[in-house]
């Protein structure tokens, strides 16, 4: 079981992680903004994450920590 932790305040809503996820689990929030006014990344079905870390690899801002 893989677990993602998001440092939400660092997220700039760039969407590179969303595009990188091979299982299309990530999206930018439609309902929330972080303190900087960006739409932060969120995961709808965290149980389907395989911990490939593609998202964290593409993230320019070290938002995502991946554990397995």
């Amino acid at each position: 079981m893989a677990k993602l932790t998001f440092e939400e305040e660092l997220c700039k809503g760039c969407g590179l992680c969303v595009a990188a996820c091979p299982k299309h689990l990530l999206s930018l929030s439609q309902h929330r903004l972080n303190g900087k006014g960006h739409s932060p990344v969120e995961i709808e079905k965290p149980e389907e994450c395989i911990g490939c870390a593609f998202c964290a690899t593409m993230c320019p801002d070290c938002v995502i920590t991946v554990e397995k």
Binding site: A2, L10, K12, G13, C14, G15, L16, A19, A20, H38, G51, A53, F54, A56, T57, M58, C59, P60, D61, C62, I64, T65, V66, E67, K68
Partner: protein
């Protein structure tokens, strides 16, 4: 078990880069290399003038701010003064290939045992999107508003190829960071560029074909695609020099 986390060699300072800017990815790759080689305590980095002018705030090692283009000369001074420290520069395309072209070529020609990370995003980001020496023919920028015209503005410069004509460099590779596979290749190349210095192998430069979504006028994803479509055909990925020993 942690599979991926922020490297220790990055400070807590928040990156000021635009959303989707690949500077953030490359900073992380440099920090990962420093972490993995265990060299943070003896590394001295040199920041350029450009979007990454504040790089001295982002790495935990000692950092020096250089004047525009002169980082390889500053690095030469540092390395000649402290030969057993690991000295790297981090420079954009204006810094390295325009105003600093002389210092780049001569540091390479001298085979200075330093590591240079060259961010080629074909534009001047910090000052608002002017033409770079690596801007493509036809590319629209603030100072090439009708598209770069070879007749009046010349041709883009391929730095890896240029430096490969010199005997001095030990390792020259062009990489990119526009997808996971390429990021992982870039990570290996950057680590090797630092490892070479640890082993005293000589001048190592990694050219990272990067994006500038803001000044290219694209979304971050489209910018990464533009790298594939337009940049890589002109700036082919690959190893341009790899001296053994």
């Amino acid at each position: 078990m942690v599979v991926f986390e922020k490297p220790k060699s990055l400070t807590d300072a928040v990156f000021h880069y635009c959303p989707g800017c690949t500077h953030g990815i490359v900073h992380r790759l440099v920090a990962q290399a420093i972490d993995e080689l265990g060299i943070e305590g003896r590394t001295i980095g040199i920041a350029p003038v450009g979007c990454s002018v504040l790089a001295y705030n982002y790495f935990t090692c000692d950092m020096i701010e250089a004047s525009h283009g002169r980082a390889p000369a500053v690095a030469t001074g540092v390395k000649r003064s402290l030969p057993d420290k690991i000295v790297f520069t981090y420079q954009g395309d204006g810094d390295l290939a325009s105003i600093g072209m002389c210092e780049t070529i001569h540091a390479a020609a001298r085979g200075e045992n330093i590591t240079i990370i060259f961010i080629n995003n074909a534009i001047y980001g910090m000052t608002g999107g002017q033409m770079a020496p690596t801007s493509l023919i036809g590319q629209i920028t603030q100072t090439s508003p009708y598209g770069r015209d070879a007749d009046t503005q010349g041709y883009p410069i391929r730095v890896c190829e240029l430096l490969s004509e010199l005997d001095g460099p030990a390792y020259l590779e062009r990489v990119t960071v526009n997808n996971v596979k390429n990021v992982n290749s870039a990570r290996r190349a950057i680590k090797k560029a630092f490892q070479n210095q640890v082993e005293g192998k000589g001048f190592s430069l990694i050219e990272v074909v990067s994006s500038c979504p803001t000044n290219w006028g694209m979304t971050p994803q489209k910018a990464l695609q533009w790298i594939d479509d337009k940049m890589l055909p002109y700036y082919p990925l690959g190893v341009y020099r790899d001296k053994e020993g």
